[in-house]
């Protein structure tokens, strides 16, 4: 049985808008509180979406991409926030990696249990899907506007892209330099068998 504060917390989430007290309590039954230490990978980019979270305490970094500079932080999440909830729509692979910045408290739910509630006709599940859909619409509009802004102001975009081109050129230089380092390293190791043995230990 979940404690009352969980329903109070759910009440503050836009994704739970319109849910009655009974529906919030039914939803709370689906969620399990879990604490994670700092630097825990909650979600890994590319993994299948089977679990969703609500952030109650602490902050989480969202990272995207790979490459020589490593993943780039694109956002920092703080409570109350839903994480990985788009998996409830399609179960597609994760779009980003989420790592805890500090000790965090999450409410954890599985897609499998949610699907069972939805198929049974639980109204909290209907309302959650409707709210996720509306949130998704807002995100699509926002991202579309940002994307097409590039075409709306070509001169501004060209200046921005020229700056980016310089950054990309620098990154490529660094990639070439690091590739050279990788090629050179085995040579060095062969020349220093004592060091290799220490590393192997």
């Amino acid at each position: 049985m979940m404690s009352a504060p969980v329903t109070h917390f759910l009440e503050t989430l836009p994704l739970c808008e319109g849910m009655t007290r009974a529906e919030l309590a039914a939803f709370a039954e689906l969620l399990e509180p879990q604490r994670f230490p700092a630097r825990t990978k909650i979600i890994r980019e590319g993994d299948p979406g089977t679990v969703f979270y609500f952030l109650r305490e602490g902050s989480v970094g969202v990272f995207r991409g790979t490459g020589v500079d490593g993943p780039r932080r694109v956002a920092t999440l703080s409570p109350p926030e839903a994480i990985g909830h788009l998996c409830l729509l399609d179960g597609q692979p994760r779009e980003a990696t989420c790592v805890s910045d500090e000790t965090i408290l999450l409410l954890v739910g599985t897609k499998r249990r949610f699907d069972a509630c939805f198929d049974r006709g639980d109204t909290f599940a209907f309302k959650l899907i409707e709210n996720i859909a509306k949130d998704l619409c807002r995100r699509v509009r926002r991202v579309s506007e940002a994307f097409y802004q590039f075409y709306a102001q070509p001169q501004v975009s060209i200046r921005h892209l020229e700056r980016l081109a310089r950054e990309v050129a620098k990154r490529k230089e660094r990639e070439i330099a690091s590739a050279r380092y990788v090629r050179v390293r085995p040579e060095r190791q062969r020349q220093r068998p004592g060091v290799n043995a220490a590393l192997a230990r």
Binding site: G65, L86, L89, D90, Q92, E95, F118, G121, T123, A125, F126, I129, E130, I132, A133, K134, L136, C137, R138, R139, V140, R141, V143, S144, A146, F147, Y148, F150, Y151, A152, P154, Q155, S157, I158, L161, E162, L164, A165, V168
Partner: protein
């Protein structure tokens, strides 16, 4: 609400379920529904036809029906403040038009133009909202499938944004060509 000239898809009396299933099997959103749910949604639909070049709905139009492509191709265009357009995507059989506005109740975000002769299922928003208000499972399953199509659109835009930023040289060349094309159009 059906408008004059729209053609009802099915009524209670002529619903032969197998025939109905077969006739809508190519529309992904319908395929996810069971028989009762499919009937619920089909009752909110009418069939509409558009010749090539005809605008199905325009950016800024008030929220209205959702269109599902039965046959034909429709081009989705983003209209920029100067009136020029950028292609968002070309939609084909089974794809949805106007999902954002249908779900959110906000003005249309894009212009949809028929590229070839098109037959579309028109899902009436008011009738659908009645299903939603009555907490009919069909409405929420429909919303869920429709939203999963939107996540694909979100991923597509994110990917295009990534390509745009990762190949700045190529993007600059494209923007310069575009600016030159618009200048030529203005000169004419």
């Amino acid at each position: 609400m059906m408008t004059p000239g729209d053609q009802a898809v099915f009524t209670k009396t002529d619903c032969a379920m197998n025939g109905l299933r077969q006739s809508v099997s190519h529309i992904g959103v319908f395929a996810a529904l069971d028989d009762d749910e499919l009937m619920d949604i089909i009752r909110t639909c009418s069939m509409v036809h558009y010749p090539p070049g005809k605008i199905v709905c325009d950016a800024g139009d008030p929220p209205g029906a959702l269109f599902l492509i039965d046959k034909g191709m429709v081009r989705l265009l983003h209209v920029l403040p100067d009136g020029s357009t950028e292609v968002v995507s070309t939609l084909e059989t089974g794809d949805a038009i106007g999902a954002l506005s249908f779900l959110e109740g906000k003005p249309r975000s894009c212009r949809a133009v028929a590229v070839s002769p098109c037959t579309l299922y028109r899902v009436d928003r008011e009738q659908f909202n009645t299903l939603r208000a009555n907490l009919r499972p069909s409405a929420f399953k429909f919303i869920r499938v429709l939203s999963s199509m939107l996540t694909a659109r979100l991923r597509d835009i994110n990917e295009r944004m990534r390509v745009l930023q990762e190949d700045p040289e190529g993007s600059i060349a494209y923007l310069r060509r575009r600016a030159a094309r618009l200048r030529r159009q203005e000169a004419r």
